[in-house]
Amino acid sequence: MSVIFILVGFSLLVALFFLGSFIWAVKDGQYDDDYTPSVRMLFDDDDFKSDRTKKTKSHQKQ
């Protein structure tokens, strides 16, 4: 049964780790703005081709 002492201690450590992560996240400002990041993650990283360069290219083809 003494293994339970170790397990209890271990579970507390895990819980403390999560508390620590939560505090870290708050400190980092993650809870200051809970909307913008949800939009930001949907942006593509790749560049959009310029309308004019597209046009000149198609002209060249012709």
């Binding site: 209890v8 507390l12 819980a15 403390l16 004019r52």
Partner: protein, 810 residues
Amino acid sequence: MSQEKIVGIKRELESDLKDNTHCFHCGSDFEEIIVKAYAHRFCCEGCKTVFEILDENGLGNYYGMEDNPGNKILSKIGNKYSFLDSPEVESGLLDFNDGGVSSVKFYVPKIHCSSCIWLLENMHRLEKGIVKSTVNFLKKEVYVVFNDEILSLREVVELMVSIGYEPNISLNDYKKEAGKTEDRSPYYKLGVAGFAFGNIMLLSFPEYFDTNGYLNDNFRKLFGYLNLFLATPVLLYSASDYFVSAFKALKRKYLNIDFPISVGILALFGRSSYEIISQSGAGFMDSFTMFVFLLLVGKWYQNRTYQALSFERDYKSYFPLAVIKVWEGREEPIPVGDLKVDDIVILRNQEIVPTDAELLSETAQIDYSFVTGESEPISKIQGEKIYAGGRQVGASIRIKVKKVVSQSYLTRLWNQDTFAKEGSHFQSVVDKVSKYFTLFVLIISISTLLFWLPEGHSLAFKIFTSVLIIACPCALALTLPFAFGNTMTIFGRNRFYLKNAEAVEKMDRIDTLVFDKTGTLTQTGNEEVLFVGEKLNTQEQALVYSLVAHSTHPLSKTIYQFLEGNTSQKVTAFKEVPSQGLEAKVNDCLIRIGSASFTHYLGALNSDLSSRVFVNINQVNRGYFLIKKQYREGISELITRFKKEGYQIHLISGDNASELDNLKQYFPEGHLHFDQSPEDKMNYVKTLQKMGAKVLMVGDGLNDAGALKQADVGLAVSDDVYSFTPACDAILDAENFTQLNSFLSFSKRTIKVVRISFGISLFYNTLGMVFAIQGVVTPLFAAILMPISSITVVGFITLAIRYCARQKNL
């Protein structure tokens, strides 16, 4: 080519073909000027330029995410931002500056869609000097980090202006406290309480389920001490606000809801610690942490306010940061706060007069629409006094400062200390209930103690603390946060934004409404003129035109403008009868225009809120001009509804009494006041309050600011809630103005719901106490009763308030 891109381009082409009437950049409807370029149509050169800038820099994505995301470019930048070159101003604005890298935060009201976020966060691709820019969408803020060796602050601002995102830089931003970040402690407190609550609950299970006595004493000890260890930070840190608040209230000699909460918390913790240390029981640590956790959740729910709206704006957010001062023949920008008496200042077109001054230039046109709500600019001539808050229209002018900024006519309104609603602490419903509740609990618990004392000290003490624990007003304390939180959410959906939860309760008590006229009941803009009756022929039109040309009355001016283009004829025997009309001989015709009685008009009229000017030529009634002051739609119905519901209604206007006849039918005798100065308005509200009225002031401009602050609830009506609104308790989008009575009656419903749920929670407390007095309360009983009562109350409130909202069509 990726699937997404094909879809994107297809969509672009389709929208291009279909959408020929909207600007590709800003989406404005076309009127005349159309600039065609690159297969897109633009409403103006400005929009086209932005498109070019973005397109050249590979930022065409901006147009791919939302249709017509841009902002219309309204004016040229010129040297509007030259004041940012002054090192003093610059350092006052920067958040942080460390050899090479500077950072600054701007409020940009024009942020409105995901494209905006994308573009503003990609500014580094437009300009190398920008290191990083981050948008907070809800607050409409942009945080820019830039390399100050490459870019100046002015260049950063001008870059943002050039792509259509003009930051709002006002005196308010100047010399903010450096490094002032948000208070994040509520999150920490909530986190600590949640952590302790979860773990203690787990550690308490063995005790609860150990019905056969298998639990080893060592385990019992371990779990007990662990619980104590976990609960201590909850007591000392998470719950600290309640002790502080209860103590402060006690010092001011009243009992608020935080007092029974604190007593409950201390009883829970004290009793549990005693049981754990003396090994006499398991303690109530799980109930204790749950209690604190639920309270903090309620607090958090209530305090989610509208981040992008400001309810505290004073003249500082309206005033410019710097003005151009003429000094020893040079022009240099200085912060307005540093202006001294007799300084000479140059004001350019559309710039605001920062303080009371004397005009040095020959003439000026000052637009006081922000201060008074009146849209016509006022002409001033050399040597005349110009008051702060006006806006110069037209050419640059020079003025000589007569008072320092903080002493001007306008700013004095804010600096009056009378606004600190002296000592009159707002007594919330819950405070009233908690006063009796606390007394009731104290009486019951002490009688219980005395009753059980003969049976032994320790037993009596145990039962005494049980009563205190069970009496913990958990559900009671959760009632208000959830009721008001829900109400504010529903209001917010209807674009009615409250500053804080207290405002809901204040609205419930309102019995008197005071309206401002211009800008609140009326919409600033052009009047609509119609002629009712047989059409006037050219000769008759010329007669009327010649007559009104001689009068300065606002209605005459409106008709004059309406008839513009007619030829003026000679007017003799001109007579103006105040508040009646005009009479004169024009071309041998006797002509009278004015009120119905003045012109002997006998026809039937239906009443609405518009002015009529009757025309009588040679004793013949010819009809009347119908001048619709652009009152907001549905105003007359709204006022009628208010009257039916028994509210006292008043009107105070800074305008002249020209609209008196129209408004008389809606507002009772003696409740209509014209030509009121901002101070008059404030004093009027004060007088009403002295007579015992609870006043809701509805206003819009700076001239209402004093009255808004003085009133029990100050409500600002605004066409754009993100633009300037004077300090107030609530902001209402003008579009939803006619729903104002629903908002008021909904607040009353909310308070009713609150009362009922007080009943429910008191029922639970009494039920629990019945058991506690008999001494049969176990930790398990407490651990079950508390969540059940809280869930019932929160559930009831949420459902009841949603139901009421649906009934009111909110």
